[in-house]
C-alpha cells in the first residue's frame, strides 16, 4: 500500500504502539520497511537512553544490515517468519558474534565473541534484528541490576527506582519501546521479577526447554533462557522460535515445541488454578497483595476453578537457593581467570598475580557469592550446607508435584514489593535475597513460570506470577492471556 506521506508517518513510528503481529503484517503489506522499524528502535533509544541506561552496547550498523536483508526478502516476495525484521535486545550474558558481550562485568569489557549462542543463532535464522545488549546485574548476580560494572538501568515508571534484576535492562528496553522483545535469563527470578517491576510480560521456560549454549553460565542446574515482551502473544512467538533440543546443550529435551498461540482461548473453563497460602503471608506489600488477589479473581470470573493449596516448604526456598546457586557459581566463575579472554594484566611475573589482579574486577556481589559457594563446598561443610540444600530442593519439588496433581497452574505474586529505590537494599545482601521468595521455588523445581502485569500500586507496576508444571508453557501462557484481556 503505497502512500506519498508514508515517510513522514513512519518517522513518528513508536514501537510501543505495535505488537509483533502488527509489525509483521505491516512489513508484509509494505506499509513500512524493516529498516524503518529498526530506525524507530534507535530513535527511541536516542530519546530515552540518557534517563534509562538500558544498554551497554548498541549494534546499529549490524542491525540496519540485518533489517536490509529482511527488506530484500520482502521485495522478492519471499516467505518471512513472524519475527523477521522485529527489533530485539539481549541481556549481555548471551554471546553475540561480533558484538561486545560483557555479561555486565568489567572482567569482560571489550570481549567480542567469535560465535553466537544458540538462541541468538535461532533468532538470526528468523530474521530478527538485534539492536543492542542490555545492562543488568553482572553475570546474573542480583535482583536490582545495581551489581554491575556499567550503568544501572532505571525504571521507566520512576527513574529513581530499580528495574529489578538481574535482567533489568532487558525489561526496561521492552517497557520503554526500544525493543519489541528482549532476551533474559532466569535462575531464581531474574526474568519474572524485573518483568513485574517494569510492567511487562516475562517468561521463564521449563529448565531444559531452551538451550543454554553460548550464554554465560551462572548456576548450571538452575539457569533458564527466556524473554520479555509487551504481550503474551508476542512472548509466545519468541518462545516458539527459541525453544527446542540443541545438541550443544545436552540438558535440553528432545520434545516437540508446541505452537503456543494455538492454545489461546477466551475462557479458562475446566482449568484449575491453585492459590498457595504461603505466598500471601507476611512481607508482601498491601498494594501488591490487593492487585494480585483482584487478578486471581478475574481468572475465576472467566471460568477457572480457584483451589486453595499449600506449598509447605516455601519458607526454605531462599536458604536452599542461596547455597546451591553460589556453589554452582563458584565453579562457573572460575573460568574468568584473565588467561584467555577479557582484559588482562600484562607483564605479570607469576600466574597467581594474573588470577588475583583480574578477578578483582568482579563486582562485590559476585565475590560474595563465589565466597559463599567456596565455603559451602569446602571440606567439613559440604554435607551441612550443599547436600542439605539439595535435599530441601527435593522437598520443594515434591510440594509442586503434589499440587499439580490437583491443579493445572498456580497463581501468586511475582515480587513481594513494587520497584524499590536505587540504593535502598545495596548494603544489605540478605534483604535483597529475601525479595526472591516467590520466584525461587519454581526455579529450584525446574518449572515454567511467567509474569503478567496485573495493575499498579503507588503508580508502580504489579505483576501476577503464573507457575506451571514441567513443559506446561501453553497452560501458563493461556492463563496469562486471560489476565491481559481482562
Amino acid at each position: 500500500m503505497a502512500c506519498p506521506y508514508n515517510k513522514i508517518i513512519n518517522f513518528f513510528m513508536d514501537l510501543k504502539e505495535f505488537t509483533i503481529r502488527r509489525l509483521h503484517e505491516g512489513l508484509q503489506n509494505k506499509e513500512f520497511s524493516a529498516v524503518e522499524v529498526a530506525q524507530a528502535a534507535f530513535k527511541k533509544i536516542d530519546e530515552t537512553e540518557e534517563n534509562l541506561q538500558a544498554y551497554i552496547t548498541l549494534a546499529k550498523e549490524t542491525a540496519l544490515k540485518e533489517a536490509g536483508e529482511v527488506d530484500e526478502k520482502i521485495k522478492n516476495n519471499e516467505q518471512i517468519s513472524i519475527l523477521a525484521g522485529i527489533p530485539y535486545s539481549s541481556k549481555d550474558l548471551y554471546m553475540t558474534k561480533g558484538v561486545q558481550s560483557t555479561c555486565g562485568s568489567k572482567i569482560l569489557e571489550g570481549y567480542v565473541p567469535p560465535f553466537d549462542s544458540t538462541v541468538i543463532r535461532k533468532l538470526k535464522e528468523n530474521g530478527s534484528v538485534l539492536v543492542g545488549k542490555n545492562t543488568g546485574d553482572e553475570f546474573g548476580h542480583g535482583a536490582s541490576s545495581e551489581n554491575t560494572g556499567f550503568a544501572v538501568p532505571r525504571n521507566p515508571y520512576d527513574h529513581e527506582r530499580v528495574c529489578g534484576g538481574s535482567s533489568g535492562g532487558s525489561a526496561c528496553a521492552v517497557a520503554s519501546g526500544s525493543a519489541m522483545f528482549s532476551l533474559g535469563t532466569d535462575t531464581g527470578g531474574s526474568i519474572r521479577q524485573p518483568a513485574s517491576m517494569c510492567g511487562v510480560v516475562g517468561v521463564k521456560p521449563t529448565y531444559g526447554r531452551v538451550s543454554r549454549f553460548g550464554v554465560a553460565a551462572m548456576a548450571s542446574s538452575l539457569d533458564t533462557m527466556g524473554c520479555f515482551a509487551k504481550t503474551i502473544e508476542d512472548a509466545a512467538c519468541v518462545l516458539k522460535a527459541i525453544a527446542g533440543k540443541d545438541e550443544y546443550d545436552l540438558t535440553t529435551f528432545d520434545r516437540e515445541v508446541p505452537d503456543y498461540i494455538s492454545f489461546f482461548k477466551d475462557d479458562l473453563k475446566g482449568v484449575k488454578v491453585g492459590v498457595p497460602k504461603e505466598y500471601f503471608g507476611e512481607g508482601i506489600e498491601e498494594g501488591v497483595k490487593l492487585a494480585v488477589e483482584a487478578a486471581i479473581k478475574k481468572l475465576g470470573d472467566v471460568g477457572a476453578e480457584l483451589v486453595d493449596i499449600s506449598l509447605p516448604h516455601t519458607k526454605y526456598g531462599v536458604a536452599a537457593y542461596y547455597i546451591i546457586c553460589p556453589c554452582e557459581v563458584s565453579a562457573n566463575m572460575a573460568k574468568y581467570d584473565g588467561l584467555r579472554y577479557g582484559p588482562t594484566l600484562k607483564d605479570a611475573k607469576e600466574l597467581e598475580e594474573i588470577y588475583l589482579e583480574n578477578r578483582t574486577k568482579f563486582h562485590a556481589e559476585v565475590k560474595r557469592r563465589i565466597m559463599v559457594g567456596t565455603y559451602a563446598l569446602s571440606s567439613g561443610y559440604y554435607d551441612a550446607y550443599y547436600l542439605k540444600a539439595q535435599k530441601v530442593r527435593t522437598l520443594v519439588k515434591r510440594d509442586f508435584d503434589e499440587a499439580f496433581e490437583k491443579v493445572d497452574v498456580i497463581a501468586c505474586p511475582t515480587s513481594p514489593t513494587v520497584a524499590f529505590k536505587i540504593g535502598e537494599k545495596s548494603n544489605d545482601p540478605l534483604a535483597m535475597y529475601l525479595g526472591d521468595v516467590f520466584t525461587i521455588p519454581a526455579s529450584l523445581a525446574g518449572l515454567c513460570g511467567l509474569n503478567v502485569p496485573c495493575g499498579f500500586s503507588e503508580n508502580l507496576p504489579v505483576g501476577l506470577q503464573i507457575i506451571g508444571p514441567q513443559f506446561g508453557e501453553e497452560k501458563i501462557l493461556q492463563a496469562g492471556k486471560v489476565i491481559e484481556n481482562s
Binding site: P113, L250, T344, Q390, P429
Partner: protein, 96 residues
C-alpha cells in the same frame, strides 16, 4: 555464626580472590549474616530424602562424536581475540 577475618581470607585464597582490608571486614560481617540465615534449613526434615542435583531427570545424554558445524572459523577466533597472536596461535601466559 561469625566468620573471622582469617576464615574470610582462607576462603578468598581458595577462590583466587584478592580482598582489601575493608572488603575482608565487610564480607566477614555480610557473609556471617547470610550463613546464619541458612540455619533455617535445619528445621526441614530431610531424613531419607535424596538430594536433587538437577530437575530434568535426564541421564547419560550422548551424541555422536562428529563435527557437524564450526561455531567459528580459526580466522574469526583470531580476529576476535585481544591477545597477541603469533603464527596464527593465540599467546597466553604459561600455565604449566
Amino acid at each position: 555464626m561469625k566468620l573471622t577475618p582469617q576464615q574470610v581470607l582462607h576462603v578468598a585464597k581458595l577462590a583466587k580472590l584478592k580482598l582489601s582490608e575493608e572488603e575482608v571486614r565487610l564480607f566477614a560481617d555480610q557473609l556471617s549474616r547470610v550463613l546464619d540465615y541458612m540455619k533455617i534449613l535445619n528445621e526441614a526434615d530431610t531424613e531419607d530424602v535424596k538430594p536433587m542435583f538437577q530437575s530434568t531427570g535426564l541421564q547419560n545424554e550422548m551424541r555422536e562424536d562428529l563435527v557437524k558445524r564450526d561455531l567459528a572459523s580459526a580466522d574469526e577466533v583470531i580476529e576476535c581475540t585481544n591477545r597477541d597472536v603469533e603464527n596464527r596461535q593465540i599467546v597466553v601466559p604459561r600455565v604449566i
